[in-house]
């Protein structure tokens, strides 16, 4: 019985830590994996290339829980800090990543644009796009 309890606890722990979401790119993209730091650089537009592939980062709308989760887990920045960051970038002539109003449009964008990179719930992912990071 004690053994079963341990197994149960371990499986609960694993399910809590397994990512519900994934960062995805176009199938043709040569990138197979990416680090959290690279992701942060790409979505803050500090960097524009990975392995000499020009990347186009795609966000979902600011009020979607998925966006909030991405900002918390990957960018690790509060909304206020992000606002101040993008205000400063406006002065430098840099605008935030493109935004799509739904996860389906993100998927479609990534599927059709070679350098596109977005994030989606795992249940929307199929063979038409490539997963490079889970969170």
């Amino acid at each position: 019985m004690k053994f079963l309890k341990i197994i149960f606890l371990i499986s609960i722990t694993f399910s809590l830590y397994a990512g519900e979401y994934a960062v995805v790119v176009n199938k043709k993209n040569k990138i197979d994996k990416i680090s959290k730091k690279q992701l942060k650089n790409i979505f803050l537009k500090k960097r524009h290339f990975i392995d000499n592939q020009k990347i186009v980062a795609i966000n979902v709308s600011a009020n979607m829980p998925l966006r909030m989760k991405f900002e918390k887990s990957i960018l690790q920045m509060s909304r206020e800090k992000l606002n101040s960051f993008w205000t400063k970038q406006h002065f430098h002539g840099i605008s935030p990543p493109l935004t799509q109003s739904s996860t389906n449009s993100v998927k479609l964008f990534v599927k059709n644009v070679d350098g596109a990179m977005g994030y989606l719930p795992k249940n929307l992912i199929d063979d038409s796009i490539k997963v490079i990071y889970e969170f």
Binding site: F49, N52, T87, P96
Partner: protein, 326 residues
Amino acid sequence: MRLIFFFTFLTTILLQAYEIGRGYKLHDALHLGGYFSTDYSNTKEKSLFRLDDVALLAYGNLNNELSYLIEMEAAPFYTYEYKTEKETKDTYFHKERLYLDYKYSESINLRIGKQITPIGYWNLEPINVLRETSSNPILSSEMFPKFLSGIDIYGYIPSFDSISYHMFGQKNKDLDEEYINIKNKHFFGLSIENESNFDFLYGGSIGEFISEDNKRSRYLSFNLKHDVGLLNTQAEAVISNIHDNNTNKSDYKIATYIQPIYRINSQNSIVARYEYFKDNALNIKRNLGLLGYSYRPVYSVSFKGEYQIHSNSNLNKFIISFSVLF
């Protein structure tokens, strides 16, 4: 009736495309914005009101690799001196920045035109609304030309993934000579920065320029920024060897500052700054400390107040300012 319909339509379109602090995004190739700042300062000698900067910005992506930025600024737009009741206006819009950016790869990118000189931190965010103090440190105006009218090659150094560089040069007049702190026709430099940690950045620069009065300056600078929790600290130091080609004499200049900012919350901050400046050739030595307060109802709108204490008490100064990036 048609006119009313047209203006209603236009306003609706513009409002939809507008976000405060981010400008109008009319198209990926055209973002419009700008900023202004006003301040009131008081010293023993004078009380001054200024509408200091009035600037308009346009930028965008022309294609996947090519982008541009244009900034036109009038400063000081309007000043009023209370004791003498003297009023001045300068409504001519100067070319503050005008450049093309070509993004070729992670390690090699190109910027051509008039641009902010990529040295340190302060110089890169020089406008009132982006700072936490109304005033600038002496370092920002005395040690190197704020703008470069030339070429900057920049990117990340291959094999040193987190180290970025800027290698820049100018061998001509500034694109708008009336609008630069140090007029020159010769300016070359290299800046590097370690970005391995988002919370702790540090770097340095070396370079050389020859000013209009035929003095050659060779500078070395260091800068660091630490931003963790509620405390942000930024420090820069520049030392410069100056050779006067007319008299064949050499001397040196030093400027440094350290500025901690304590964020009470997302809208309110307390700021302090200590500065040291020495120009050996002119026998000028200054120490300055300031304490200030910053309030931002939203990030792109800033109200600030500060009091400066100088080693020469005649220079002690009180400043309040209001600035907006739109």
